[in-house]
Every structure is written in C-alpha cells, then in structure tokens.
C-alpha cells in the first residue's frame, strides 16, 4: 500500500521533537546553576562580594589575597571599580565603613610609585606622575590558604594562588594640574614615602589654603581638595562633605588614587553655591561657586577651587 501525503509529517515530527526537547529542558529538568564563579553573579551580588573583599582586607591587610579575590570578579579596572563603588555607596546612603574600606583597597591597589609633584616655572602647571599598579605578589608559602582560582579543580595544595595574579595599572586620564605658586606647602621634586601616610592623632585637620585655579585643561568647574598630615604627606581616607541648596555629597580623599593619595574632587554645577567641610569637623568653607577664567586669546573656560587641608593648620 502506498499513500501520497507528502513530507509534512516529517516536519511535524521535527517540530514535535524540538518541542519535547524544550519541555524536558525547561519543565522536567530545568537548568540549575551550580558551581558558578563570582564573575557570573548578578551585579548587586558582585557589589556585595567586592564590599566583603574590602572589609576582609581592612581586617587582614593582605593585598595579595585581596587582589586574588578581586580577580575572580573579572573587573576590567579593579581600582577604578572599587573607587566608583565607594562613591556610590556613600551617595546611596550606604555604610560609611564599607565605603571607606572600598576606598582604602582602591587606593592600595592603585598605588605604584608614589605621585610626585613636579616643580615647574612659576607660571607653569605641575603634574602628578602617573602611577602603575604595584600589587604585591606573595611568594608561595607553606601553610597559607590557597584561594580559589578560576580553574575547575578544587585546590588541594596549600600555597597561595595570589602570586600568579597581577592587574594592569588603572588607565589614567587627566593629570591634576594646579598652579605651582599656590602649592607652596607641597614638596617639589622629592618623592613621598611609599607607605600610605595617615593622619597622626592629635592635631585636627583644617583649611590651610584656598585658591582659585585657572587651568584650561580642566573641562568642568571643580572643587579640588588635598589633605596633608603634619609632615606634609598627602593622606587618604579623609571624608569630605559638600553641601548645596537641597543637596549633600560625601567623598573621601584618595578615591582618585592616580591623582594623589590625599586628593579628591567634586564637579560643581554653574550657578550653584557650595560649602565644603571635613566630616571630622572644622569650619566649613563656604561661598564656593563656579567661575570663569579668561585665557590670553580672550576665550573663556571654567576655573576650579583648590582647597588644601593640613593637619595642625589654624
């Protein structure tokens, strides 16, 4: 017996097979996510993971371990990602401790050769040196916990995996440019200590200099803050509070580690009046507004405020 019904039943079978396959894949035995890596986590979980790495780093100060853990997240620019998350944490009203931990880790990861202020002519601008990442690589040591790696094997050998990790230096954009004449308190041409300076206890940090800077290389009006300890070394982790009508922002020195461990800045909106103070106290610096500068050819551009806070300054 021969029937002539055409090949449609083959197509029907094909579609039915595909349908059954999908039914099995989606309903009977759906995909279960197991044995995933931190890099595959949802963005908010990655943020929490990063914050936890920073908190653990504050506790153990093991930069190689922190670096190895951060590598698991596959962030393109680790230091910058940490710095941005620190800012977002503060902006979103998150824990200041977490923000500070993130900022500290960002700073320590981004710290290469310590930024140096290069002396120039009185009219020239000074430029901070571009640092490279100097992540300490721990040598394999017995008795050190091996951190998980991205290989599928479960670690069994108690040596650190962090030694094999290194991170490219953060790409650095603009260099901080300020008139040399206004930065008399900064050492010129002499390298600062490689260890991150911290504020010494006792004397409070207060405004030492307030100057208006005309730098055509700065595209936006900014408030630039530099904090120094009594020895003249820039200090990181100083919380700065900026207020304006209907708004407030917090940030820390050292977030833009490529511009100096004690540096922070804030972009002003033209027409807005700002006041700035350090979170730990002290007199606020008020009446900070965006103003224009004029170059030799008559063109106008935004100027910036440079505020130098120093320990022991009155």
């Amino acid at each position: 017996m021969r029937e002539n019904r055409g090949p449609w039943y083959l197509l029907t079978g094909f579609v039915l097979g595909a349908f059954l396959g999908l039914l099995y894949a989606w309903v009977v035995s759906p995909v279960e996510y197991v044995d995933t890596s931190p890099a595959a986590m949802r963005a908010d979980f990655r943020d929490q993971y990063r914050a936890l790495i920073a908190s653990a780093y504050v506790a153990n100060r093991d930069i190689a371990r922190a670096q190895a853990r951060l590598n698991l997240l596959s962030d393109r620019d680790v230091a910058r990602t940490l710095a941005e998350q620190a800012q977002h944490t503060l902006a979103d009203g998150g824990s200041p401790e977490v923000a500070q931990a993130l900022a500290l880790l960002a700073l320590d990861l981004g710290q290469g050769p310590t930024p140096v202020v290069v002396a120039g002519s009185p009219t020239a601008v000074s430029t901070l040196a571009v640092p490279t990442a100097a992540v300490e690589a721990a040598s394999p040591t017995a008795g050190v916990t091996q951190l998980p790696t991205e290989t599928p094997q479960i670690p069994t050998n108690p040596v650190t995996a962090a030694a094999e990790t290194s991170e490219p230096s953060p790409s650095l954009g603009a260099a901080l440019q300020t008139p040399q004449a206004t930065r008399t308190s900064l050492p010129t041409g002499a390298p600062l200590p490689t260890r991150t300076p911290t504020a010494t206890s006792g004397a409070p940090i207060a405004l030492e200099e307030k100057s208006f800077v005309c730098d055509p290389n700065l595209a936006e009006p900014m408030i630039q803050v530099v904090a120094e300890n009594a020895a003249g070394d820039q200090i990181s982790g100083i919380e700065v509070v900026v207020n304006w009508e209907g708004g407030e922002n917090h940030f820390f020195t050292g977030i833009k580690s490529e511009l100096g461990p004690g540096y922070a800045d804030f972009t002003m909106t033209p027409g807005e009046v700002y006041s700035l103070r350090l979170a730990e106290g002290g007199e606020p610096v008020s009446e900070l507004t965006a103003a224009e500068c004029e170059s030799g050819d008559g063109s106008r551009y935004w100027g910036s405020w440079l505020l130098l806070f120093a320990q022991g300054a009155e």
Binding site: G13, F14, L16, G17, Y49, T145, Q146, P155
Partner: protein, 147 residues
Amino acid sequence: MSYFHWKKLTYISDLSPLIRWWLYGTITPVSRWIRFLIAVLLGGVLGLLYGWVVNPVKYVDTTPSSLRADYQADYVLMVAESYNQNRDLPLAARRLALLGESSPTEHVRQALIFGAQNGYADSDLELLSQLASDLQTWNPITGTGGS
C-alpha cells in the same frame, strides 16, 4: 585525498540509501511511523547541538548560593576575617545568609570542613572556628551572645 576524507565520504555514501529511503522511499503505515520517529530524533539532536555547541548556556545573574564549593568557603572566610575585626555578628549573619537557606552556622561548618580538607592555614581555620562558635551562642532575636 587523505584516508580520513575517504573514510568520511564512504560513510556518507553508506548513509545515502537510508536518506533516500527516508525521503523518497515507499511509504507504508509502518515505514511512515519509522520516518516520523527519525524526524523527531533528528529534531532533538539538532536542538541539543544548538543548545550545547552553537549557543550554550552562559551563566549570568547567578547568586552566591550557586557558587562553587571553594568560592563559598572563601566567601565564608572573608566574612570571618571581617567579623574578626568589627565583631558585628548580625552583619556576619546577614552576609552568610546570601549563601542560601541553610543556617549561618551550617555555612561556617561547611567552610571549616572544606578548609580542613584543603589545607587552609591554621590562622584561617581559627577565624572560621571563632565565627562558628560565636554564631552558636548568638540569638538573632535578642541579639545577645557571641563574643
């Protein structure tokens, strides 16, 4: 032509009568069912080929609870390191809760077992033990316990 290609062509030519039969052969009620089943199988095979080779599953937007065992153990170790510094047990418990439905104590216990089996440093095992111990005496309702 290499031996491999020659064998491959031979294999395909061996199949060609079957393909000819499948497409153009005499159709009887029995043979139609066989061809239908072959079509179903072919659809399934192509579906698997697409799902596993051409466009395999990419794991994105997962949660900490799906992390591999060594990542989970390291996560718990980070919580223990942080706890050792801030002594904030509720915060440690909240962080451990991200690892899934098991109790925080159970997560730490699993990490301790993993760490002991995989050569974690004594100092790290000590941190995990301390956290496990404090979690056991901690009452999340009253917030009492711990060290």
